[in-house]
Symmetry: C2
Subunit: 209 residues, 2 copies
DNA sequence: TAGATTGTTAATCGATTAACAATC
DNA sequence: TAGATTGTTAATCGATTAACAATC
């Protein structure tokens, strides 16, 4: 269906466009030119137009872009025009932070279940969602059509559980463990490596001019 | 001091090299060639050699790289050969996750204080670190030579507090709020935008071939 | 020494920016 | 219509990969 390959640089920027357009909508702005948006976002207008034209002509000469229309179109491109069933594995602080951040649910990422290996948490609830033990995992994924699994557990466990959930048929893993997961190519992995982020920050402190 | 500009693509990869070298050390590997490392990390050997040679010739022809030496040198480049005083603002789940993740402290990121605006948390402790109220913030930063502030608070508060801590003289902000912080150029900002990460994941689900 | 592998230059590839005709 | 601004092509810039002489 899609003809040309979209570069990952473009994909990285899409959610940021989406965020800015959402904020413009909230402040009642109805149209915006690539030039105005470029000033706000601190990227070139040329880049904005190039990026958007990977997906279609969303603007109009002499007018600019309709904010709400563009917002919705980017939402579709990002696949957040529909719901995604999600699972959190690891009911520690990081897991709880994701569970309690209601914006994800608003965007259609529905948390269907929480898993942990600590028996003390069995049948306790976080935001009305029951914490389950690992032996239920595979069945739960299949019965609830889980697409996304967030792994907020230590790296050794993450490597092992990643295989289990991949075998159970999830489409994507949101990996917070400090390791790479080596999985078949049809399983999508999106990494959030906080320690690497902190090291980049440290690099910039050490090497700023 | 530094002559040529290091590209951000290289900097993004450095912590990952560091992580792999650390794992090699743990498993007792003493030397490694760019070719072997490339197979493990799934990047080209050429890229590894180019990246490292931005900073110096760390290898030896016919031999490869000494794992421990390279690990330490990259540590120096990343600025984690010394301690950084750090502060967490926002004692919610995300803040607690950072506070309780002991690896950061091991790498020299010392959490000197925790701040929150909830009076109920006043003088409570998280991992033996007292939670303080916002009115103490500026003085505390100055008295404790705080270099890094992690912001794990909502976006409106983050924008405002970012200015306060920037004025108080911190070098860098580790920003977990779902917004960009517009600060003077001499304040480093490293963003962790979880919602953008989740949208990229969603994009990949929607557009995989 | 011969074999291995780096450091580095050159070639290629891809991403960003500039320019401008099309057009609202 | 005249002015504004897109969509898109061309030019530039930068990053990645390939190749190989240097050298351990």
């Amino acid at each position: 269906m899609e003809e040309k390959k979209i570069s990952s640089a473009v994909i990285r920027r899409l959610p940021r466009y989406y965020r800015y357009l959402g904020e413009l909508m909230e402040t009642g702005v109805q149209r915006i030119s690539s030039k105005e948006l470029s000033a706000r976002m601190k990227v070139t207008a040329s880049q904005i137009r190039q990026d958007l034209n990977n997906f279609g002509g969303f603007g109009q000469q002499g007018y600019g872009y309709n904010v709400q229309y563009l917002y919705e179109e980017i939402g579709k491109i990002l696949g957040i025009d529909r719901e995604h069933n999600m699972l959190i594995i690891g009911a520690g602080n990081l897991g709880k932070a994701i569970i309690n951040y209601s914006d994800f649910e608003k965007r259609g990422f529905i948390i269907k279940g929480i898993f942990d290996n600590n028996p003390k948490l069995k049948e306790t609830k976080i935001r009305d969602i029951e914490v389950r033990m690992m032996d239920e995992l595979t069945d739960f994924i299949r019965e609830n059509a889980i697409e996304i699994v967030a792994l907020t557990i230590p790296k050794e466990a993450a490597k092992q559980i990643a295989r289990v959930v991949a075998d159970a048929g999830v489409k994507a893993i949101w990996n917070f463990a400090h390791t790479d997961l080596n999985l078949p190519d049809d399983v999508i992995v999106e990494n959030v490596h906080l320690s690497e982020s902190l090291m980049r920050l440290s690099y910039t402190i050490a090497n700023r001019n």
